[in-house]
Every structure is written in structure tokens, then in C-alpha cells.
């Protein structure tokens, strides 16, 4: 990148990096396979001479730990800490190499610390996970197309349901804060990188290491428990369950690291003048999400550790006859599990709240209420977990109090609707793909919210718990609001992240296919749930035939729509029209940096003097100017259209 080169007075030739120069995804795979094989061979040799299921669980777990450690060694994740321990710190040249300077496309396959590279890597990982999870969803819906299709059979069906759940949970947790939290947020707050760039790369590569572990579950007897992994069913499950819990342990470590990193970045690295009431709402949403994940996921991890100890060492945490309790698992799981849905939804809705002012050309309505609503949801979300356990019999006397906390969440959630609709009101509704996503969210999330109110009601939940109604409800929130928000965010930030314009027509076609298909799928599912179809059944009574057929047709429509979106993204990324630096006329800082974005984002750090929502406030420099004007930056003239490189930075 020419600017950075000029700045440091250095020449673009290889310096620094040391052994890291030879490490990349290939060596990581090799390292993982080698250490995984060694771990398998040794554990198999010493342990697996019996038919004891514990022994095969031990072999599976040890092999996976070997794989993960080998993979992380192979990518070079431990090199930094190792050298630090020896007292041999990295030089500035090393750091520059790790940031991916002058490495072209290769830096996407390394332990690269530049937040923009990590953001793109997260985006690709998310898309891969969504594709896998979506394919599994298609298999589920195909099995359920008629009451007794036996397309998968009960064993495969249960596994596919579990895998779909876990893959999608991981995908949706990372889908906003991963790509956009990493790529966009640092620029949005006027920083040159994340607080801890190496931890950033670490969190990404841990997820990459976990993906093969997760997918291997399909070949190790599957996950017969659904994604919730309820004990003691998970105690007696095949070794696929070890893959499941190992995935979650690795993922929990990754999200704790990512959470600490992103939160610290936002807390300490905002540009001068960016006070809390000038901080963009998406930054608030991102911080709420990753901050909530910090205490939440370790609880899940501990549930997985206990489960792993049960399965490999014969512990009795969830075995009632030896003093264990399935309710211990359920509590640990849901103390994480309910905050987790807000971890998914809040940043997606916050992205849409960031989008709405830009395309309504109006300030964000009631900024303070938006912040309070996010804070309120986060605060309440850790006090509602037992509404998932009304019907468990765990503590019937607590059902009333948990109904209170759950229904209280409707107040801050309602405020979010007020903020969005107040922003749209009288706005110049510019119907681009991101704005359509805002509208779709208003539709879907209200349905998700109201059906959530039914389920918060204790007696109604007794009738509906464990039925397809619940499945439809949480898809309306996690997909209808969450995934829709992520697609809106992708459409909005695509020109900044890739330097290209997203294929408009394909984007619209995909939007309508996905949204119509989505509503058809899950309204059908609401109906069969009300009529009494349980979740996670492989065949069902003929009464539910029509609803399920409708759902399956809707699901295929979503599938086609997502393929169109994939086409739009891939083709636009490769040869879309070159985007100007601020195609939407937005006022947040990320649109002030040139395309492609230089290595450290800002040549000179900006000072913020107002919030980014001053639409219609009579600032001639900011209103009514054509695309591409970046009047917010005084001084360095951002070079426009200088490079056709699609990967952000060219040599």
C-alpha cells in the first residue's frame, strides 16, 4: 500500500516475520493432522483395547485436542506467547509482517493481525457455516415433506437436526460481530486497529480449527441430542457428542477472547471527541453483544467440561442414581442460552438502526432511548433463563418471577421498535437493499416478539413448549431479525469491505425469495406447532401434513434465495463495479477512509465533533452532495478509484 510505505519511509521488501513467514493455512492443516494422528495413535494404543464406550470417547477427545493444538501451532498462534516468555519480543518489522503488509491475497491464509483481514476471514467463515447449516436445514425439511418420507431415517435425522442447530448457532453468533465488528467497528470509532490484534487473529483461527471438529460429529455417530445437548441423553450418545462439546469449548474460548478484544477496543480506542453520546449505535450494539458473551459462554463451556468429564472419565454430574442432576445441565445451558439469543439479535438490530438513518436521511430517532433499550435488554437477559424450564419441573415456584423478568424485556424491545419506526417516519425512504432489510426486520421481529410473549406466559408455555411453535418463534427472531440484519449489514458495508458494488438486481431477487420463503416456512411451522407437533420428530401424524409441506416449499424458496445471494456476493466481489468511498452518503467515520482502505485506516486520526446522525440539520457540506463526497475529513484528500484491487489493499 503506497501510502503506508511513504509514511514509514520503508521500502516494500520482505523484512521481519521470522518463522511466521513460512506458516499458513497449509502448515496449520498439516500440523493439525500430524498431531491429531499422533494423539489418536497413542490414545488408541493405550486406551482403546476394551469395548468400553468411555475409552472410545477418550480417544475421540484426545485426538481432537491434538488436532486443535497442532492446527494452532501450525498457523503460528503460539509463536508470539512463546517468544514473549523467552523475553524475545517481536520487532516492529515483525508486527508489520503479521499485519499482512504487502502479502496480497496470501494474508487471508495466515495468522494475520490486520482487523480488516480478520473481518473478511470471519465473513467467509460465516458464509461457509451458513451454507453448511442451510444445507442441513434443506435435508431436515426434505425429510419432513410428507408425514413418513423416511428420507433420512431417525438416526441420521436426529444428527442432522443437532448439527444444523449447532452450526447455525455458531454462524449466527459470529455473523455480525465477526465480519462487521472486526472490519467496520475499529474504523467507525476512528482507530487504526483492534486493541489486541494478535488475540483477534487467535479468535478467528480457533473457530477455523473448530469447524472440522464440529463437522466430524457427522461421521462419529452424530449428535443425537439436538443442539441443546441435554444430559443424560448426551451422556449415552456416541463419540459425535465429544466432537460437539469440544467444538463448544474451543468456540467459548474464542468468543471470550474476541469479546474481551472488541470490548476493550470500544472502551479505550474511540477517537478523540467520540463521547458515549456520539458513539454510533452499531458500536453500542456490538459492545453489548460481545460484552454479554464474556460471562455467558464460559457457563456453557463449564457445562461442556462437566459433560466431557462424564463421558470420558465416568463422572456422575448428570447421572441421577449417583447424585447428579440433569437440571444442573439445563441451568448451566440456559444461563448461557438466553443471553446468547441477544448476543445474536442485538448487533443485527443495531446494524439496522445504523442503516435506517442513512436511508431515511434523518437522525436516529431518540438515540438515548436506543442506548437505554440495548442496555436494558442486556441487563434483563441474564435474569430470564428459567423461562426455558417452566415445564422442566425444576422450580415451579420460580415460574412466576421468571415470567415477570421475561415480560419486562418487552419494554426495552418495544423501545427499539419506536427508535426504528421513529427514524423512518417522514424520512426519504430510499429503498435500497439495506433499507428493505430494515422493513423486513420490522415485520419479522414483531411476529417473533409477539409469539415470544405467548411463550413467556407460563400456562401457554405448558401447552406450546417443545412444539414446532417454539421452533418457528425463535427462527422469527434469530433468522427474521438476526440473519435479515446481517444481510442488511452486508449489503450496506459491502462497498467498503470489498471496494465493489453489490449486484443490485440479484440482491433484490434474493431478498424477496428469502423473505417470502421465510415467512411461508415458519408460518406453516407455527400452525403445526399450535396443532400439537413436537419439535425434532422425524415423522408425524397425518394431521400435520399440509403445514409441513408448506414449510418445506418455503424452505426450498429460502434455499434458492440464499444461492442467489451467494452468487451476488461472489460475482460482485470478483468483478462488480468499483465502489466510491461513500456511496450512501453516510456520516460515520468508516466512509471517510478511501477505497481501498490503507493498512492502518487513518493517516491522521480524526477528532469527532458531533454524532454521525446530523441528517437534515442544515450542514451544507453534508447534505445534498453527490456520491463520493467525503466532506468530514479535512486535510488528507482521499484518493478515489486509485486501485482496482478487490482485496482492500494492493501493492
Amino acid at each position: 500500500m503506497s501510502e503506508a510505505v511513504v509514511q514509514h519511509g520503508a521500502v516494500a521488501r520482505p523484512v521481519g516475520g521470522g518463522a511466521m513467514r513460512r506458516l499458513h493455512l497449509g502448515t496449520a492443516l498439516a500440523g493439525g493432522l500430524i498431531l491429531g494422528f499422533v494423539a489418536w495413535y497413542l490414545s488408541h494404543h493405550f486406551l482403546a483395547d476394551t469395548d468400553d464406550p468411555e475409552a472410545s470417547n477418550q480417544v475421540t477427545s484426545i485426538t481432537m485436542v491434538g488436532w486443535a493444538i497442532g492446527f494452532m501451532i501450525g498457523i503460528g498462534a503460539f509463536r508470539g506467547p512463546w517468544r514473549w516468555m523467552l523475553g524475545k519480543d517481536q520487532t516492529h518489522e515483525d508486527e508489520t509482517f503479521y499485519a499482512g503488509k504487502d502479502q496480497g491475497i496470501g494474508r487471508y491464509f495466515r495468522f494475520t493481525t490486520d482487523h480488516k483481514v480478520v473481518g473478511i476471514q470471519y465473513l467467509v467463515v460465516t458464509m461457509v457455516l451458513l451454507a453448511v447449516g442451510g444445507t442441513l436445514a434443506m435435508m431436515i425439511r426434505t425429510d419432513l415433506i410428507t408425514k413418513d418420507s423416511r428420507f433420512l431415517g431417525p438416526q441420521t435425522y436426529n444428527s442432522v437436526v443437532g448439527l444444523h442447530g449447532l452450526v447455525m448457532i455458531i454462524a449466527t453468533i459470529i455473523m455480525v460481530t465477526g465480519p462487521f465488528g472486526n472490519f467496520i467497528v475499529p474504523i467507525m470509532i476512528g482507530a487504526r486497529d483492534m486493541a489486541f490484534p494478535r488475540l483477534n487473529a487467535l479468535s478467528l483461527w480457533l473457530i477455523v480449527a473448530a469447524i472440522p471438529v464440529l463437522l466430524s460429529a457427522g461421521f462419529l455417530g452424530g449428535i443425537p441430542t439436538g443442539w441443546s445437548g441435554y444430559a443424560p441423553l448426551s451422556d449415552q450418545a456416541p463419540p459425535g457428542m465429544d466432537a460437539y462439546l469440544m467444538t463448544i469449548i474451543i468456540f467459548a474460548i474464542s468468543s471470550a477472547i474476541a469479546g474481551a478484544n472488541i470490548t476493550t477496543t470500544i472502551l479505550t480506542m474511540r477517537a478523540r471527541g467520540m463521547t458515549w453520546n456520539r458513539t454510533p449505535i452499531f458500536v453500542w450494539g456490538t459492545m453489548a453483544s460481545v460484552g454479554l458473551a464474556i460471562p455467558a459462554f464460559p457457563m456453557f463451556m463449564s457445562a461442556m467440561v462437566l459433560l466431557g468429564v462424564d463421558r470420558t472419565a465416568g463422572a456422575q454430574f448428570f447421572v441421577a442414581s449417583a447424585g447428579g442432576s440433569p437440571w444442573l445441565y439445563a441451568n448451566l445451558f440456559w444461563i448461557m442460552g438466553h443471553p446468547e439469543v441477544y448476543v445474536i439479535v442485538i448487533p443485527a438490530v443495531a446494524a439496522l438502526m445504523e442503516i435506517a438513518p442513512v436511508f431515511a436521511r434523518k437522525p436516529l430517532f431518540n438515540y438515548n432511548a436506543a442506548v437505554l433499550a440495548i442496555v436494558g435488554i442486556v441487563g434483563l437477559s441474564i435474569m430470564v433463563w428459567a423461562h426455558h424450564m417452566y415445564a422442566s419441573g425444576w422450580a415451579p415456584d420460580l415460574n412466576g418471577p421468571f415470567m415477570l423478568t421475561t415480560e419486562l424485556i418487552s419494554i426495552p424491545t418495544g423501545l427499539l421498535f419506536l427508535v426504528v419506526v421513529g427514524t423512518i417516519w417522514r424520512g426519504r425512504v430510499w429503498t435500497t437493499l439495506p433499507m428493505l432489510a430494515v422493513y423486513a426486520m420490522l415485520w419479522n421481529f414483531i411476529i417473533g416478539g409477539i409469539t415470544g410473549i405467548y411463550l413467556s406466559d407460563v400456562p401457554a408455555d405448558y401447552a406450546l413448549h417443545g412444539s414446532m411453535f417454539v421452533t418457528a418463534h425463535f427462527h422469527y427472531t434469530l433468522m427474521g431479525a438476526g440473519l435479515t440484519g446481517a444481510i442488511g449489514a452486508l449489503a450496506y458495508w459491502f462497498p467498503k469491505m470489498t471496494g465493489r458494488t453489490l449486484h443490485k438486481r440479484a440482491g433484490f431477487i434474493s431478498f424477496w425469495l428469502v423473505q417470502i420463503g421465510f415467512n411461508v416456512t415458519f408460518i406453516g411451522m407455527f400452525a403445526v406447532g399450535l396443532a400439537g407437533q413436537p419439535r425434532r420428530v422425524e415423522h408425524y401424524a397425518s394431521l400435520f401434513g399440509v403445514g409441513n409441506f408448506v414449510s418445506t416449499m418455503g424452505a426450498y424458496t429460502i434455499g434458492i434465495g440464499m444461492l442467489v445471494l451467494l452468487y451476488a456476493v461472489v460475482s460482485s466481489w470478483r468483478h462488480g463495479a468499483i465502489a466510491i468511498s461513500n456511496p450512501w452518503g453516510s456520516k460515520t467515520l468508516e466512509w471517510t477512509v478511501p477505497n481501498p482502505i490503507p493498512l492502518e485506516n487513518f493517516e491522521v486520526l480524526p477528532v469527532v465533533i458531533a454524532d454521525p446522525y446530523g441528517y437534515g440539520e442544515g450542514d451544507p457540506a453534508l447534505t445534498g452532495v453527490g456520491a463520493g463526497a467525503t466532506p468530514v475529513t479535512v486535510g488528507s484528500g482521499p484518493p478515489e478509484r486509485t486501485s482496482v484491487g478487490s482485496d482492500g489493499e494492493s501493492t
Partner: protein, 255 residues
């Protein structure tokens, strides 16, 4: 929305074009949603117990209560889209009005949502008390329910421990179920009666109901319990007291 930010036109806010437009859309949507409010209970089918009747009423009432709220959000969004839409690829040359907040609107919104929330809670607590009432009835029939992969077993301790894999219940007599499991978690669900409680290994949980309709109803397992989860279903037969006594005697018990 407040008058202060919408210019200094002489007419009151209720006379404006946009107010009327939104009101029209809101009215149509509200009526449609209220009408839709009766659909869920219709799909849930005729209730077979006071519990299920209470649940279906809840579904209807909650939908009706939510209707005007959902309708106003959609009405404002839809009206803004129809009236002020900007098409094309260029950034709109004019910004919208710089409305940053609106105290009265926010207050009204917060007060309304708090009232609705209080209503939901009070309704729910009253309903919860009501559906728990059969548990304390003096003449309650006690049935022990055991789940195991993948069958239900019912035993009647007060009737000489009669055991069956089909559930027989006398009409209009309160029933208390003590539910447990031999292996993993199952969930005991009588669909048309609106009751459900998990069967946990090592624990006994309780639920109760008054069956008030003759017929055969569906019992399904509502917690994924392994390979044949989908097949873990049986029937609940609600019969007259005489028929119930006959069934008990025929199975070697005594009433």
C-alpha cells in the same frame, strides 16, 4: 407525533394528511389482526380441559392486545414508504426533517408498553393459579407416569396399582400426575388438555388437570429423547366414571 416538529401549520396534528393516512392504515391492520386473533385457538382445536381453554383464551387475548401495537409500527413504516419513498441509485438530494426525539411520543409509548406488560403479568399469574387448582382437589385421582425410551407407562396407585400403556381418565375428576423417567429426560404432554411436564430421571415432577370432554386424545413426548422420540406417543381415553371403573376392574384393579 408532536406538533412542534411538524412545522407551524395552523391545523391540529389530528387534522393532517399523514395522521389521517396512518390512522386509516392502522385501523385496517388492527381489525385484520384482531380477526386473526381467533385463528390460533382455532388451530389448537376444541379444548379437552379447563386448562386448555384458559390457554386458548390467552392466545386470543394476547393477540388482540398486541394487534394495535403491531399495527401502529407497520402503519407508520408503510405510510412513510408510500408517501416519501425515494427510488434510484443516487443519494436523495434532500434530507428528511431533523427529528431527533419526541418526548411525548416516547412517554406515551413507554406508558402503554408498561401497562400492556403489567396486564400480561397479572393475566398470566391469575391463569397460572387457575390451572394449578386441580392439584389441590380432595378427590383427585393420582396417576404415576413413567417415561422410558420410548414408551409411557401409567400406574394407578389408588386402584390397586393397575398398569397400562394407555391412559384412561374418568370425566370431570381432577387428576394429579407424578411424572418420572427411567433413563433420559422425556416430556409428558397431553396435547388437547394443554398440560406438559418433563419426566426427569431421579426426580418426580407433578402436573394436574380436569379432563372435561369425552374422547381419545394425544399423548406425545415433547423432549428429544433419542432414536425413536417421534414414536413415543400414546392415547389418553377420557371415559365416564362407570366405564373407568369397568376398565380398572378388567385390568385386575379395584376402584
Amino acid at each position: 407525533m408532536s406538533t412542534s416538529q411538524l412545522g407551524d401549520r395552523a391545523r391540529g396534528w389530528w387534522q393532517r394528511r399523514e395522521t389521517r393516512g396512518i390512522f386509516a392504515i392502522w385501523t385496517v391492520l388492527t381489525i385484520a389482526l384482531i380477526a386473526f386473533g381467533f385463528v390460533p385457538s382455532h388451530i389448537m382445536g376444541p379444548p379437552a380441559s379447563p386448562t386448555m381453554r384458559a390457554v386458548e383464551d390467552t392466545m386470543t387475548i394476547f393477540t388482540i392486545a398486541a394487534a394495535p401495537v403491531a399495527a401502529i409500527v407497520w402503519a407508520i413504516a408503510l405510510y412513510s414508504l408510500l408517501r416519501w419513498r425515494h427510488r434510484g441509485d443516487e443519494i436523495p438530494t434532500q434530507d428528511g426533517p431533523a427529528i431527533r426525539s419526541n418526548g411525548p411520543a416516547t412517554t406515551v409509548w413507554l406508558v402503554l408498553s408498561s401497562i400492556l406488560c403489567a396486564f400480561l403479568l397479572i393475566w398470566g399469574l391469575a391463569e397460572e393459579t387457575a390451572v394449578a387448582r386441580p392439584a389441590t382437589a380432595a378427590n383427585a385421582l393420582v396417576i404415576n407416569v413413567t417415561g422410558q425410551q420410548w414408551v409411557w407407562t401409567f400406574s394407578y396407585p389408588g386402584q390397586g396399582n393397575v398398569e397400562s400403556d394407555q391412559l384412561y381418565l374418568p370425566l370431570n375428576r381432577p387428576v394429579v400426575f407424578h411424572v418420572t423417567s427411567k433413563d433420559v429426560i422425556h416430556s409428558f404432554w397431553i396435547v388437547q388438555m394443554g398440560i406438559k411436564i418433563d419426566a426427569n430421571p431421579g426426580e418426580s415432577t407433578e402436573t394436574s388437570v380436569i379432563p372435561d370432554r369425552l374422547g381419545v386424545f394425544d399423548i406425545r413426548c415433547a423432549e428429544l429423547c433419542g432414536l425413536l422420540h417421534a414414536d413415543m406417543e400414546t392415547s389418553a381415553h377420557v371415559v365416564n366414571a362407570d366405564d373407568f371403573a369397568r376398565w380398572v376392574n378388567a385390568n385386575g384393579g379395584h376402584v
